[in-house]
């Protein structure tokens, strides 16, 4: 039930595979809703149409997939931009963004407080302890901007790293004052614990904040330009398909996440990008530079591929 290794089994049609440098791809993904586009593309045979046979490899966190990318075990990976830009900046890898993945949708992320908590408004968060998945990641980056916009001093927030599995127990145990949750936990916390939403970290300046994308190394991209284009098309087409069609997403979620069908029907999805937009992605890099997480500026456009899908 837990492997999530759905393999596109149909062989690529002879016509579609014409000219591709390779047809079998291994892509690292995360067991989270954000990776859904890839699974929808597989499920809806969009890769097959491009002549690609994609095997997802679920990893537990994005940094873990980077060695695999570097030693050629995988062709590309799904990773969050903050990590990827940091890796690029530190020259751990030469990054190439193949396709954008997910952006934060309203209510897909949430700062929440328990019913009895004195925290009522964004201002009350000052000086409080909030969990993040790991320090220095996109959660912090986005929240900082949103807090600033709400006249809260982001410097007073104390972030503690809490792994996903342990958020609920440390929250209930009072070890964190407010919880920084993503889906499906937002839905679960609201319904099961009556938690209140204090702030949406993906609002105001951080609205539609780009979270993750599909990346490979520059070297791989140079060797496989046609595959890259085909891959991007499939992902974008999947995103388009998903835009107004919850069902295609809900159908694949239980196959690679631990979200059951019932929850899948109710959770808030992020936005899945059906085109690549260097401008909104540049924001992430700029904020990282502002936070001194980067040593020098990154020109995001130079890392992106031209959009070939319509």
């Amino acid at each position: 039930s837990s492997g999530g290794t759905t393999t596109a089994s149909a062989p690529p049609s002879a016509s579609a595979s014409g000219g591709l440098e390779k047809t079998k791809l291994k892509i690292a993904t995360l067991p989270a809703i954000d990776s859904a586009a890839l699974y929808v593309a597989i499920d809806q045979k969009l890769f097959e149409q491009e002549g690609l046979e994609v095997t997802p490899q679920v990893v537990q966190a994005a940094p873990e997939a980077i060695p695999m990318l570097l030693n050629g075990e995988i062709d590309a990976m799904f990773g969050n931009y903050v990590s990827m830009f940091a890796a690029h900046d530190k020259q751990a890898l030469k990054l190439r963004i193949l396709a954008e993945g997910s952006r934060a949708a309203p209510d897909s992320l949430s700062i929440m407080a328990l019913p009895g908590s004195p925290i009522k408004t964004a201002k009350d968060l000052e000086g409080k302890t909030i969990n993040v998945n790991v320090l220095h990641n996109f959660q912090e980056l986005a929240l900082t901007q949103v807090l600033k916009a709400n006249n809260v001093d982001p410097g007073t927030i104390k972030y503690v790293p809490v792994t996903f599995q342990n958020i609920m127990s440390s929250w209930k145990g009072g070890q964190i004052d407010a919880a920084y949750l993503g889906e499906p936990m937002v839905t679960a916390a609201t319904s099961a614990m009556g938690a209140r939403k204090i702030l949406d970290p993906a609002s105001g300046p951080a609205a539609e904040f780009p979270i993750s994308g599909y990346v490979s190394t520059q070297e791989w991209y140079d060797k496989n330009p046609k595959v890259s284009a085909a891959f991007q098309r499939a992902i974008h087409n999947a995103a388009k398909l998903m835009e107004n069609n919850r069902e295609v997403v809900a159908k694949v979620l239980p196959t690679f996440t631990q979200i059951d069908a019932a929850t899948a029907a109710t959770v808030t999805f992020p936005f899945f990008s059906s085109n690549d937009n260097p401008v909104r992605l540049q924001r992430v890099a700029d904020w990282m530079l502002e936070a001194k997480w980067l040593m020098k500026a990154i020109d995001v456009k130079s890392l992106m591929s031209p959009t070939t899908s319509g």
């Binding site: 837990s2 492997g3 873990e64 075990e73 679960a188 631990q258 979200i259």
Partner: protein, 271 residues
Amino acid sequence: MSAQSLAPVRPATSATRWSRRAAGALAFASLIELLSRTGLVDPEILPPATEIVGRAITLMSDPLFHAHALTSLLAWAIGLGLATVLAVPLGLLLGSVPIIDAATRSVVEFLRPIPSVALIPLVALVIGTGLQLRVTLVVYASLWPILYNTMYGLRGVDPVAKETLRSYGFGRLSVLLRVSLPSSAPFITTGFRLAAGVALILTVSTEIVAGRGEGIGVFIFFAGIAVPARMTDILAGVFWVGLFGVLVNALLVAGERRAFRWHHARLGEQG
């Protein structure tokens, strides 16, 4: 009675000993049941023991779980085997040639405290992330107990016994293999028992932290990221791991008793 007051009290029969073990296990299970049922610990985090065991039993007929278990077992066995094959000769060498011990000590002691979490990305980069990653980390961690117990075991060998063989003209190697090794063998196997546990922990932990595909650790990881976490599944997985540990230990102890009859009989233990 105490094992050491030797004679006067008759030693317990094996039936009493097993029933005592069962009583101990039962008490432990009851404690968990109690903690959970009374709500002293959130039952969502620590489900009652009966529930855990019940889930563990249903898992037994789940082919997916079998695949997880087999994968872990394989990594464990290969890792432990390699560690033994490496550590015993190395321990013999370091324990019997002081100059080599002194020369390599700085390197060995430097390497030893490096945690496997730090090594995971580096090892993954160099040798890849499949079974080889788990096995490497298992070897790296379970090497030490065997190595150190071998080295310390050698030191405890009766010098008169060693001199005896030397006086018959046997060389250093013969003395090492014929006297030092057998006489420290009981302690080396204690090291092996330790290593078997360490290897098990490392296998599953590596799977939890960086596992892909199959493995009990992967099973536990995925149960953990569900919302809410499936604690019963996690603990049922833990239950099987623990039970496997108990089983392996019992087998090793029985093997030791058989192989080192001279040791236990001399110490006046029942066996």
